[in-house]
Symmetry: C2
Subunit: 306 residues, 2 copies
């Protein structure tokens, strides 16, 4: 038999569209265990977060017969949207646990609370979970003044000053790439994702920044170049990525020009943003985003963002 | 019993991604009968066009025991791509039957030929079938000098002068609209397609033309406005359409500015393009595109485009 799991003092929970991540935490901020469940987009929302959460952590909650204290669970991400948690308007610091809203559970061993998303009234914009990643970055670099770039299905440009999120802007770049590469007429050309052509990426960035208004034609041009000029699938994929990131950099220029930029991310996408920004002579560094969500949840739980 | 079907002198065939249309023709250009088959995208390509064609017209071919003359079938659209028919480079008149390439059939009653697509080397571009629609428009308005706008999954801007297609440019606007409205995070906001808000469309066109580089943020703004401001699904859908068409008009301006424009299409999409172009003080009329494909196939068969 395994040694019984130590009961966590609290649980950090990241409810994403495609996965649920839970960290079993001690009061001193150290991690007992990490749990991960993949889920189809919207799936936790459809069945409710409680069954998905229990499937991940029930073994660690113990059996207190309802007589003990429930385990606090602090959640960021999509839970807020499902539970109609009011958004916090910017400018504001990233939400702390004081702003969290209780989510009803049947299991008395859980005290589940969701951090609110953040909103901007003009131009209208929303984000959920990204405020917590920013809190994590601020815990690593207290006093940072500049712009965080958070690439993903949507990319967020978040302007931070004096510990507050001053403004932010969301671009649908990642989702456009996914839709075009998987479902459009270009899917026959961009292949399965192996191979990368840095020169084709750079050329795509440059073309889109020079003529962003022609993006709809430049995209179809990938198909034409495949049919007429034998453009390879690796080059086609890199060009597609370059065109869409270049389009975004043209549109987000007011957010990053002259700013100190931190790209929060891992892997190829973060490298692509950094390469494209560096080519624009921007001051940019990458911060590995892997544990920034946990750091942000911990900062929110402790009521401080550094 | 029905009277036996008159054997057609030839058959006009439009092989689209989603449907196959056949017209049974007399030598004098009049129509005996029209046939239509819906097919999933790529379906005729997967099974080959011959079974799909026979399912549509076999009853009209008679039973000549292989001794009689085959019925000529002239096909425009996707057949060329499957059969590696060489593209015709612009500038050139729309392809006539002299440029058609024979497609092998098992059934001896068929003499199937496919019209080639057209290509442009710089900027690289291709179109298949649209050249035939242009031929049809030129049969209706011989001597037209200006720009044809053909909205659809892809929108083509085709510059015509002295009976020749001088240049053309393809924009992926229609496909972007379909992907974003059906598969993106915006699908929850744009609803099922009922309702239309003309003011939201106009505002979308204006916003995208003024700041085309910010399209990625403007698109996500539809979601934000839905969550924060209660934007209706009809307004969201019209705004999405307006943003994408406005982006295209910003990018295609060199093609249409100062030109005499004919939008070839039917229904709401053609009306939307006409409204957006008219708001830019462009000289624009709509030509009903319903029978322009048949007119184009007839013009190609007869070896003249008027």
């Amino acid at each position: 038999m395994h040694e019984p799991m130590q009961r966590p003092d609290w649980i950090a929970l990241d409810w994403g569209a495609a996965r649920l991540r839970a960290w079993l935490m001690r009061a001193d901020g150290s991690v007992i265990d990490t749990r991960l469940a993949r889920a189809g987009a919207d799936e936790p929302g459809a069945v409710g977060v409680e069954p998905a959460l229990l499937a991940l952590v029930a073994d660690a909650l113990g059996d207190d017969g309802g007589s003990g204290q429930p385990v606090p669970v602090l959640c960021c991400g999509l839970a807020g949207a499902r539970q109609a948690v009011p958004f916090v308007a910017v400018p504001a610091p990233p939400p702390s646990s004081q702003a969290a809203v209780r989510i009803e559970t049947r299991d008395p061993r859980l005290d589940l609370r969701a951090l609110p998303g953040m909103k901007q009234d003009s131009p209208a914009d929303v984000m959920q979970g990204e405020g917590t990643i920013v809190a994590g970055a601020l815990a690593v670099q207290p006093g940072f003044d500049g712009v965080f770039c958070l690439p993903g299905e949507q990319t967020r440009w978040v302007h931070v000053s004096a510990g507050e999120i001053v403004s932010f802007r969301t671009f649908m770049t990642g989702e456009l790439f996914a839709l075009l590469s998987r479902h459009s007429v270009l899917r026959h050309h961009v292949g399965d994702g192996t191979g990368w052509d840095g020169a084709a990426f750079d050329a795509g960035v440059g073309d889109a920044m020079a003529r962003p208004q022609r993006i709809g034609a430049a995209l179809f041009g990938i198909r034409a170049a495949g049919l007429l000029q034998g453009l390879s699938s690796g080059a086609a994929r890199a060009r597609l990525s370059g065109l869409l990131i270049g389009l975004e950099l043209a549109g987000s220029r007011p957010h990053w020009l002259g700013q100190d930029i931190r790209v929060l991310g891992t892997g190829g996408l973060a490298r692509a943003y950094r390469a494209a920004l560096s080519a624009q002579a921007a001051s940019v560094q990458t911060m590995d985003a892997d544990d920034l969500t946990l750091r942000g949840l911990r900062a929110a739980y402790e009521g401080t963002t550094g």
